[in-house]
């Protein structure tokens, strides 16, 4: 408990110093405020992407390269329903989440399960194959044309001279709610403990009567459902195209690892850190890719805490 508090204190001090520095460099309070706000909101989106990944990556120990593609699938579900049936994009969560849950279940049961406990590399290859398959199937079905899903009631909200689109705020809120839900699932439910138990020792799990294969599939499906939710929530912010989710895949991994594999609070903290780093880093090093700063910070944090911010030491 004490350590958590002191760590939070440290984080606050570091954040304040970084923001002050950014202010000094940019010479504009508004720009700094905007960078912080955008960073936070963007961080929410990253956390959203990372949520399903951390479940799958941390709990099942699977490097899921198809996560971005699953997200894209969610985006298409939303885009199609919103444009053809005229549904409110947020209502399509009712479709995208179950749809992706089902897809995840089937994919795990019939493909991923066969590489469970196998090498990291085999899983990487498999999920990469699945990602290519999904992406290009979408390409085949819907052509590469871009789609956008405007939110009719989207208005910019203003805070301290900074602006944020309502849709981004909603995505942020959605991310935090999802994080809360996943966290409760993992730590406060028997099912969650069982999921972690299966991750820790499948044979032991089976020896206490847990259906390991089913739990694997459920976990994967839950992670994929998160990708579906993420897809829907970001659809109003981005253009929907077969490769749309790719953008988030790597950032998702970075966030998950930074936060600590399998750690839900880690994914949230990681997402916010990456979001803020990206935006504030842009103020420190204009002209450089913000990613340079992101990766720099990532490596430094890992050298400091090799198990990620919230990961448990091996």
């Amino acid at each position: 408990m004490n350590r958590t508090i002191s760590r939070a204190g440290l984080a606050a001090v570091v954040a304040a110093a970084v923001i002050a520095g950014a202010w000094a460099r940019s010479g504009s309070g508004t720009v700094t405020a905007q960078a912080v706000l955008t960073g936070l909101l963007l961080g929410g989106v990253y956390a959203l992407v990372a949520m399903g990944l951390t479940l799958i990556f941390g709990v099942l120990d699977i490097v899921n390269f198809a996560h971005g593609a699953f997200m894209t699938l969610g985006m298409y579900a939303t885009a199609l329903l919103a444009s053809s049936a005229g549904l409110n994009p947020y209502l399509t969560l009712l479709v995208s989440v179950p749809l992706l849950f089902g897809v995840g279940y089937v994919v795990q049961r019939h493909m991923v399960s066969r590489t469970m406990g196998g090498s990291l590399a085999a899983q990487l290859l498999l999920t990469l194959g699945i990602a290519m398959l999904l992406e290009n199937s979408l390409l085949l079905a819907f052509s590469g044309d871009t789609r956008t899903v405007p939110v009719s009631f989207d208005t910019p909200l203003r805070v301290l001279g900074a602006v944020a689109d309502l849709s981004r705020v909603l995505a942020f809120v959605g991310a935090m709610s999802l994080a809360g839900a996943v966290w409760l699932l993992l730590t406060r439910t028997r099912l969650g403990t069982a999921i972690r138990a299966v991750a820790a020792n499948p044979e032991g799990a089976s020896l206490v009567g847990l259906d390991v294969r089913r739990l694997h599939a459920l976990t994967f499906a839950a992670g994929t459902a998160c990708a579906g939710a993420a897809g829907t929530l970001v659809t109003p912010l981005v253009t929907v195209e077969p490769t749309a989710g790719e953008l988030f895949n790597i950032i998702g991994f970075v966030v998950v690892v930074l936060g600590g594999l399998g750690s839900v609070p880690g994914a949230v903290a990681g997402g916010l850190i990456i979001g803020l780093t990206e935006q504030l880093g842009g103020l420190y090093l204009p002209g450089q890719s913000p990613l340079l700063v992101v990766f720099g910070v990532f490596v430094l944090v890992l050298l400091w805490r090799p198990q990620g911010l919230f990961g448990r030491p091996a």
Binding site: R196, A197, A200, V208, G209, L210
Partner: protein, 227 residues
């Protein structure tokens, strides 16, 4: 018969370990299985638990054929194993490990904590940081939480202090008295045979001896009791 293994053949890849093994455990009985290093004792338990599929033979429990059933289904029928490597949930706490044992039974942990007070002191410690002996206690405790009707233990006294070995054997006695049958694999043959109602000797994948008073058998005394 509560459990009967009949003509089991099993192995790993190309390596055949069990060659037509048969053994039985009756309700309420404590049966010991002794044998040399590598004889196939653990393999026998793996087959009974559904962790390893035999290439021939049948596993029958309570009149129901379990051959080929997955491990979790076997456990839910009351046939439970404490495996050799313990198979604990390392990153989970002691309390969580026990809770997982009770996943389908909702069994309260009291009885186990009474049996192993050390566990009660360490409910929030990660399982994989426990000492070797502590982990052994946790593994037995976790298995008991599944409310087994037949408990199979693979060398439960390995690594336990003498006092603790006694405690475990006492516990096994009490567990049997509560009506749970036990199949005990032990290298500590003297104590195992003293406690057991019946015993089998396993050599190179087949049962070579069985009976109620193996401790009196000359070959057993020489090979397994070091007398």
């Amino acid at each position: 018969m509560m459990l009967s293994l009949d003509g089991i053949e099993a192995g790993y890849g190309g390596l055949r370990v069990l060659h037509g093994l048969s053994l039985e455990v009756a309700a309420g009985e404590l049966v010991a299985l002794v044998g040399a290093n590598g004889a196939g004792k653990s393999t026998t338990l793996r087959v009974a638990s559904g962790l390893l599929r035999p290439s021939a033979g049948r596993v029958v429990f309570d009149g129901e054929e379990l051959t080929g059933l997955p491990g979790h289904a076997v456990v839910r029928r009351g046939l439970v194993q404490v495996p050799e490597g313990r198979a604990l949930f390392g990153p989970l706490t002691v309390a969580e490990n026990l809770a997982m044992g009770a996943f389908h039974t909702g069994e309260p942990a009291d009885r186990v904590l009474e049996l192993f007070p050390r566990l009660a002191e360490r409910l929030d410690q990660r399982a994989d940081t426990m000492s070797g002996g502590e982990q052994q206690m946790l593994a037995i405790g976790r298995a008991l939480m599944t409310r087994p009707r037949l408990l199979m233990l693979d060398e439960p006294s390995v690594g336990l202090a003498p006092l603790m070995v006694r405690a475990v054997f006492d516990a096994l006695g009490r567990i049997r008295e509560s009506g749970v049958a036990i199949l005990l694999v032990e290298q500590n043959a003297a104590q195992a045979l003293a406690l057991a109602d019946r015993a089998y000797v396993l050599e190179n994948g087949v049962i070579t001896l069985s009976g109620t008073d193996l401790a009196g058998d000359e070959r057993v005394r020489r090979a397994y009791l070091g007398l």
